[in-house]
Amino acid sequence: MISAGLAVARDGREVAVMSQAEIVEALLDFIGRPSATEAEFEALALRLFAYQFAHNAPYRRFAQQRGRTPLTVRRWRDIPAVPIKAFKDLTLSCCPPDEAERVFMTSGTTGSGRGRSYHPTLAVYDRSMLAGFAARIMRGRQTIRMGILFPDEAALPHSSLAHYLALAKDHFGTEDSAVFVGPGGLALDALLTFLAEAEAAGEPLALLGATYAFVPVMDALAERGRRFALPAGSFLFDTGGFKGQSREIEPDAFYDGLSAAFGVPRSECLNMYGMTELSTQFYDDGNAVCPPVKSGPHWIRSRVVDPLTGQDLPEGETGVLVHHDLAHFNSVSAILTEDAGVIAPGGFRLLGRVEGAASRGCSVAVAEFLAAAQG
């Protein structure tokens, strides 16, 4: 167990280092208070930075290299953000890694190695997920019948998405909710029966899964000339993109396809944007227009920065997203993503991955070089 401590700045200012138990308690309390102010967010962010700086040695070196320490940082925006690639190369954890209750790993589809996030307890992750999901996906309703297009936690114990969907199903799914991806892959016939039952019963239904998992279902429906008209109140939920697991479909075509196949308006096609390196998710309010504005709850903040300097870009300019997630307390709360985005009223628009540029001349650039090395 990590205990509390105190560091003293040269100006006599004290920077308290909280214990893990205090952090968890403070976070659970903060998540439960939607009225929390900007100043309270900032105060907690700074306390968390002091905690991570004290107990996460690689992060401390990273921050020191940038001249940022708890004694010099006064605003949450100045807390140094770690590139998400670092989660592959370094062990970023405040607790000893083997004491973690759960380790989530990235799927490893991009590049070598898998990023790891260590969770000494899932209490904060779970509270964060449930609060966000209730507010943005359930939107006042208690339960709904759920079909899940993703393997369960037993099959993928290190997948944060498998855990996320298990939480969704256990807390917000009706008894007859079901998972349709098993060891044999997608159980298409069972899924079609499930959808047909809901259609016949006139009972709303939610279909949740990885973005790429919807593609073979749409293809199969098109092949069979079958369309569903899911009852009013139904919604579709996708996340994670295509990840090379299915063919890529442009967002507008994808949501048109979903809407046509399942008879659900695009405004009820909800997308979640999350990452293994975070403990909080972002949502949109439907994909009637792409790309929609995405936003998260009050314990996460996003910035759009110049990837080179880490400086905030003026509103409206496209840059790289930095997320500051208080709930990701054990690892690093501030991460520099590889996602392009632009700040919009109420949140940000996600513009896909920032691809390293191909060389515009005839020099070989890293992307092509790596592709050849792997191919």
Binding site: D306, P307, L308, L336, C362, F369, A371
Partner: protein, 484 residues
């Protein structure tokens, strides 16, 4: 101010019938719209037919020296700073490519000097022991006679944003009397067309045998027509582009690809004394700054030998200083988000290594250059481009061939600063792993006339030889009116 410039050179097609696609380029506070030709199917066919016919009818009969004269005069116009096209080039290319004015001005001059008469003769002499084979049958060493013919229709697919780079292959094609159609790169769509206009002004007949156009690569349309009509396709681009293109070229058509490459430099301990190290660092910085490492010959990694009076880390600081000094005279191009992300990704990867003490990043992320010092011998890998470079400390330069060998397919140029014996020893080992060009530091981005690009022959690869065997010649004697 917004300028609209018509790109390309389209003999035989009425200008008013040609569709155009306008692409805007912005840099240094100015905007240039470039109207790229966008031909219909029938126009593409007509253009191929025109160039092929005129090449057969006139180009074949021209003496090579006449073509040399025309290219020489066109180059002279572009070298003349008072010539309207040269002034236009100096005004528009910085906006189109984003490079600063001085870089463009100096680069153009240094490059165009390669295409004057003496240099063109060197091109010819480099590939042909007797360039007369391009004009008629010449005696062959083994007996009989040989003649070299360029393709009737040579298609160039250019790529990249290095100004005037297409001229190399354009000139090579003309020298072997190929009917020539070039496809402009969107990133630098002007110089090739200007050069073609100058040729046409100088020698209208030659100008009819040469066209410069554009199409959207990989998008169907007229691309298939051009590829099907050509006898030879010379293509530049990344491996993915080249693979896709090769798949569309008929198997009977000669395909000459030039893919993307990586350059590097090596500095021996004997060059690393306090008198020379600073100068070498400045020269290396010039190679890095010129065209922002977009050219295949630019260094992306510098291997620096330990044991000299100036240690690798000190050399890295000299280099950083050199880059900082050049940045004020030649400001870096404005980077687009993808380019900035490439540098950021490269820097952050090294930042992670730095946490374990294996790397030192010099300078601030906001500086318009990045130098990283790697303390352990490290295999060749690309930098983030746009003035980012890794300095790798090695115990002995003899270790470097093994460090670059795995990337044979990407090797091309190395800049070497070493004593003659070392230079030649290293050259042997580097040649063995696939390197094709060694230059002095400061000259990496300015290959000399007659350079064997990627180890190939600029002219010889384009031609087909026709032989009259000695037997035919001897037999012919039997049918001569004077035969006994």
């Amino acid at each position: 101010m917004r300028i609209l410039e018509q790109a390309g050179h389209l003999p035989g097609l009425p200008a008013e019938a040609v569709g155009r696609r306008v692409v805007e380029h912005r840099a240094w506070g100015e905007t240039v719209g470039v109207a790229l030709p966008d031909l219909r199917e029938d126009q593409a066919k007509a253009l191929c037919g025109h160039v092929r016919a005129r090449a057969r009818e006139t180009l074949r009969r021209m003496e090579t020296v006449r073509i040399v004269e025309a290219i020489d005069r066109a180059s002279a116009c572009l070298l003349d700073r008072a010539h309207p096209l040269r002034r236009k080039a100096e005004a528009l290319l910085p906006v189109v490519t984003g490079y600063d004015r001085e870089t463009v001005r100096l680069g153009l001059t240094s490059y165009l000097k390669t295409f004057r008469r003496p240099q063109l003769l060197r091109f010819l002499a480099e590939d042909f022991s007797n360039p007369g084979v391009l004009d008629g049958f010449q005696p062959a060493v083994k007996g009989g006679f040989v003649r070299a013919r360029g393709p009737d229709l040579l298609l160039h697919v250019w790529a990249g944003n290095v100004p005037a780079l297409p001229l190399w292959s354009l000139v090579s094609g003309l020298l072997v009397k190929a009917g020539t159609i070039g496809k402009l790169a969107s990133a630098e769509p002007l110089t090739a067309g200007w050069f073609a206009h100058l040729i046409a002004e100088t020698d209208p007949e030659l100008g009819e045998c040469l066209a410069v156009t554009w199409w959207k690569g990989g998008a169907g349309g007229t691309e298939a027509t051009f590829l099907a009509q050509a006898d030879c396709v010379m293509a530049y681009g990344g491996n993915e582009t080249l693979t896709a293109l090769r798949a569309k070229v008929p198997v009977t058509t000669r395909f000459l690809p030039h893919g993307h490459r990586i350059g590097f430099a090596m500095i021996a301990r004997e060059a690393l004394d306090s008198r020379r190290a600073g100068t070498l660092a400045r020269l290396a910085a010039q190679d890095i700054v010129r065209y922002e490492q977009q050219g295949c010959y630019a260094p992306q990694m510098l291997f620096v030998e330990r044991g000299g009076p100036v240690a690798p880390d000190e050399f890295a600081r000299h280099l950083a200083h050199g880059l900082a000094a050049l940045a004020s005279r030649h400001p870096r191009r404005r980077l687009d988000p993808g380019e900035a992300a490439s540098i950021a990704a490269w820097r952050s990867a090294h930042e992670m290594r730095a946490l374990d003490g294996e790397a030192t990043l010099l300078g601030d992320p906001a500086d318009p250059w990045s130098v990283v010092l790697l303390d352990a011998a490290t295999g060749l890998s690309p930098s983030g481009l746009n003035r980012s470079v890794a300095v790798v400390a090695v115990d002995a330069l003899a270790d470097v061939p093994a460090l670059v060998a795995p990337h044979r397919a990407y090797l091309q140029s190395a800049g070497i600063a070493a004593a003659p014996a070392t230079l030649f020893r290293l050259a042997e080992d580097l040649a063995a792993v696939g390197l094709t060009r060694i230059a002095a530091l400061g000259r990496m981005t300015a290959p000399e006339a007659g350079w064997h690009h990627d180890g190939r022959f600029s002219l010889l690869d384009l031609v087909t030889m026709t032989e009259i065997e000695a037997s035919a010649e001897a037999a012919a004697e039997g049918f001569a009116p004077y035969a006994d």
